[in-house]
């Protein structure tokens, strides 16, 4: 139990994918202009990431490894995740239109996002079993959502600040993200993955 808790905290905070490994930055800077959108996106990424890393785990351990096809890992994962996202989109559109209106646009963005494909690859690298891959995916998703929501709240405040013209937009957001990364850096060394 303790081991899983450690892994969860490590993947959510000390090894936060966005702020210490720079993954998912496109979404991080694109969506964090708006707090509500960030919350939706955080939840969408967490659920897609969990589902896709379990699927990828099964594909790797039951198909690729027994057949000695490890070099095909990347192609398999990419195709799996892209089709999973497409399938999810269709199911949600049909059965939960309200949810689709909230999340639909984010789902398309997630399909080709580095953070979603990084988690299954990390799992292969760590030789995770079923439970550890589940915990790693959940932790990384929560970490991503946390970073996104914190950033969105900061950027909403930024609207009232007097920023020099050339720094406006992406420039100041990067510096802000640097400050946020600095505060997450305070946790490093506490737990290592």
């Amino acid at each position: 139990m303790e081991e899983y808790l450690k892994l969860f905290v490590a993947s959510a905070i000390t090894n936060n994918f966005v702020l210490t490994q720079f993954l998912g930055l496109c979404i991080f800077f694109g969506v964090s202009k708006n707090l509500n959108a960030s919350i939706g996106m955080g939840m969408a990424v967490t659920s897609v990431m969990t589902l896709s890393s379990l699927l990828a785990w099964a594909a790797y351990n039951f198909i690729l490894e027994p057949l000695g096809l490890q070099p095909l890992m990347l192609i398999t994962f990419v195709v799996l995740i892209a089709s999973l996202v497409q399938l999810l989109e269709m199911i949600i559109k049909k059965h939960a239109p309200a949810l689709y209106n909230m999340w639909g646009i984010y789902l398309v963005l997630i399909a080709t996002n580095c953070i979603v494909i990084a988690v299954p690859i990390t799992n292969v690298e760590l030789h995770s079993n079923f439970l550890t891959s589940l915990v790693l995916a959940l932790g990384s998703g929560v970490g991503f959502a946390l970073a996104l929501i914190l950033m969105a709240s900061l950027r909403e405040k930024l609207q009232y600040a007097d920023v020099p013209k050339s720094l406006q937009g992406l420039g100041i957001s990067f510096i802000l993200a640097g400050m946020l990364a600095l505060s997450f850096f305070g946790f490093s060394g506490m737990i290592t993955l």
């Binding site: 490994q21 070099p71 192609i75 080709t112 992406l170 600095l182």
Partner: protein, 209 residues
């Protein structure tokens, strides 16, 4: 010939993938803490983007527009796998260090964007130069960021000490937070230069009229 040069050249500055289009930022931060890694990553991306542009361009007549994105992604994934296996065989140290980010080349927006915007509509040779130019712009930007971060964070370039032993390195530059701050300042300076050029242009037009 002039056209091909223009196609190549626009990727270097006007449409620089990192500074102008702000695409594929993840690797620009993650592997630029030293120049060697930045250069290796830049060249890898350059190879993938050029090869993929050529493949997409050759097959552009036979790919149904409805399924084009999955086709492009599969082609990119295949090329990246070839690249990874080659690096694993010949440069194992580099492979170990860049492992995760090499895999992630698959989802770099810039590669898919070039396939979709350029290679799907143009013949093979211009597509090749477009890929080469975009790749070179990307690699150049990566090395540029790498040089700044390594020189301030470690006092060296490609592991060779330059600033001497009396320099006290600013460690933050090679740590993750420094990456964000450096890129933020770089984007700001690019904007500043762009504004200055616009002003010059406006002044010139004013005097012409």
């Amino acid at each position: 010939m002039k056209n091909l040069w223009d196609i190549f050249y626009k990727g270097l500055f006007d449409q620089n993938p990192i500074f102008r289009l702000a695409l594929s930022l993840c690797p620009a931060l993650a592997v630029t803490s030293n120049v060697t890694n930045a250069l290796a990553m830049g060249l890898s991306v350059m190879f993938v983007i050029t090869a993929n542009n050529v493949v997409v361009s050759i097959f552009r007549r036979w790919v149904n527009p409805k399924v084009r994105v999955p086709v492009y992604i599969t082609s990119i994934a295949t090329i990246v796998t070839v690249l990874i296996l080659t690096l694993q065989a010949y440069l194992p140290d580099l492979y170990k260090e860049l492992y995760l980010y090499l895999n992630l080349i698959v989802v770099f927006a810039i590669i898919l964007a070039r396939a979709e915007v350029f290679a799907a509509k143009n013949p093979v040779i211009p597509s090749f130069f477009d890929g080469l130019g975009m790749g070179a712009g990307f690699a150049g930007a990566m090395v540029f960021i790498g040089i700044i971060r390594e020189i301030f964070g470690n006092g060296s370039i490609m592991g060779v000490n330059i600033l001497g032993t009396s320099y006290d390195p600013a460690l933050i530059m090679i740590l993750p937070p420094g990456g964000f701050i450096v890129i933020g300042l770089m984007i700001a300076s690019f904007n500043l230069i762009g504004e200055y050029q616009d002003k010059l242009k406006a002044a010139k037009q004013g005097s012409d009229a």
